[in-house]
């Protein structure tokens, strides 16, 4: 009888230990990354390769916008946040690790004879002062202005570069994601818009009917962004609060290493200059 009771006690201890061990192992093996939908595809492929090298690790990438990434990290719902811009001063409680660079380029339809626009012209077009292509050397057609929806990092960068405020823009079409911008301009010979350089390069190289416009005389390409010459570029960041440990640290280091340059260029972003 005593042996039976001892046996049961031992069994209980064993079960509890295993249970506790399983729980804690689970906790350290799952990493949640949320934020920018621009970075999400890159984060997904990075996670895939990382998981292949570290069996038992699960990295969940969820899209939802840069602001969501920041909010989730602050609330502890995610360990890493994907933010497609530099952190603002009021976000000083967070630390950012850049994993790639991206540029923003103006695009027009390939049929538009206009090959470049000055900064003043772009501002005039977007504020509605310049309404017809013939005022900038194009055909007699109303310009269709394509703008990004509020809150997007791309819009914020565009606004700060051209010193505009959101209510001042007079747009004909407002888009959400990059591809919507590409498809809108590609389908409309009178349109002008702005998208991520990598996306635009990809589409143009595949024969998509868009043309990238140089900014301040500098050609828009991943090469000029990489050289730091292109004026409108942004860092793609993984942000976190406090010190990172364990897998999270490993993953960030992995994402910034040279081993993943092919993944970064595969998503048409600019990898960090050698590490």
């Amino acid at each position: 009888m005593l042996r039976a009771r001892q046996g049961r006690f031992l069994l209980l201890t064993l079960v509890v230990t295993l249970f506790v061990a399983a729980c804690s192992r689970d906790a350290s093996q799952r990493l949640v990354v949320t934020g920018s939908s621009t970075i999400a595809p890159l984060a997904t492929v990075l996670a895939e390769r990382f998981e292949a090298r570290h069996p038992g690790v699960k990295i969940d990438v969820q899209a939802g916008g840069s602001a969501r990434g920041i909010a989730d990290v602050r609330q502890g719902l995610a360990t890493l946040g994907m933010v497609s811009r530099a952190l603002k001063p009021e976000e000083g409680d967070l630390a950012a690790d850049t994993i790639a660079h991206d540029g923003i380029t103006m695009i027009v339809h390939r049929n538009t004879p206009v090959t470049s626009l000055t900064r003043e012209q772009i501002v005039a077009i977007y504020t509605g002062q310049l309404r017809n292509w013939n005022e900038v050397g194009g055909p007699d057609a109303a310009i269709t202005v394509v703008n990004k929806a509020e809150g997007r990092s791309t819009l914020e960068l565009f606004l700060s570069h051209f010193k505009l405020s959101a209510p001042a823009i007079r747009a004909d079409v407002v888009i959400g994601d990059n591809q919507q911008g590409i498809k809108t301009v590609a389908g409309n010979p009178q349109a002008i818009g702005y998208v991520s350089i990598g996306t635009a390069e990809y589409e143009a190289s595949r024969g998509g009917p868009i043309r990238l416009l140089p900014l301040d005389g500098i050609e828009p390409s991943t090469a000029t962004v990489s050289a730091g010459r292109f004026p409108l570029s942004r860092p793609l960041n993984l942000v976190h609060r406090g010190e990172l440990g364990g897998i999270a640290r490993d993953f960030v280091d992995f994402a910034r290493s040279t081993e993943v340059h092919d993944l970064v260029t595969g998503q048409y972003f600019v990898p960090l200059a050698g590490r």
Binding site: A142, T144, A149, G151, P167, V173, K183, A186, Q190
Partner: protein, 297 residues
Amino acid sequence: MSPASISFRSPAADRTLYRALALCAGLVAAILALILVYLTVASASLLVADAEAGGGLWQTQWSPSAGVFGLLAMLVGSAAVSVLALLIAVPPGLVLAIWGRFFAPPGIGALYRGTMGLLASIPSVVYGFWGLVVLVPWLNRWAPPGASLLAGALILALMILPILVLQADLALEEARRRHLAGAMALGASVSGTVRRVLLPAAAPHLVPAVLLQLGRALGETMAVLMVAGNVVQLPDSLAAPIRTLTANIALEMAYASGAHQTALFASGWLLLMLVTVLMLVARHLAARVARGARDAT
């Protein structure tokens, strides 16, 4: 005489049945209550503050960065695109349901209904994407910028048509079983019977079905987001780009915080109220029509 008024002898099994069924119904109602409460709480601060804000939610300008949260233009946009979509989709939808049930050979009619079921399964993204790369550029040739109220209405009509056809078919089928034999025995043509007898008989079911689709159109997000232009303004023509309340939530929710987020929840609440009113009207109309039909027979 409704089925419920025929009383069975009630052994214990029936009492448990009653309780189980009531529980189901209660849960369903609870879900709605939960959603209502959640939405109201989330948008409360702006709805309440609105009285003092002067303009507040009921203006046409929407500039979150400037703290201006006017929902009016988007409300008009939502209403306009949905009503237009219904006007475009209901006549063909009815014709298709009637044709499929009464004039097409039975095999083809069944095939047609099967096709409609399939079309209803196509995600709104696919419709929206097609609209973005085919419809909008085509419309752009006639009326720049292409992405407009009309484009939104056309895509919406395309999306609600299949379910409209299927639900109209259900309603007509029930009416057919009850009335067609009698009418034809009196020598009436099928088309005449459909027009004079079946449609009115099916109306109490058709009207809510149509209004349900109006509700669905009001709630559609992805497809409209891709083709309607998303510019916050009151539409002055069919070719003007507009933004709906739903597209607004989808575009900005992920990036909003504080008052901006509350404003977005408030627009969701507004939509819900709109739909509630719509459904109340639908029910009232359906009851009136049913009473009229009953009085006539």
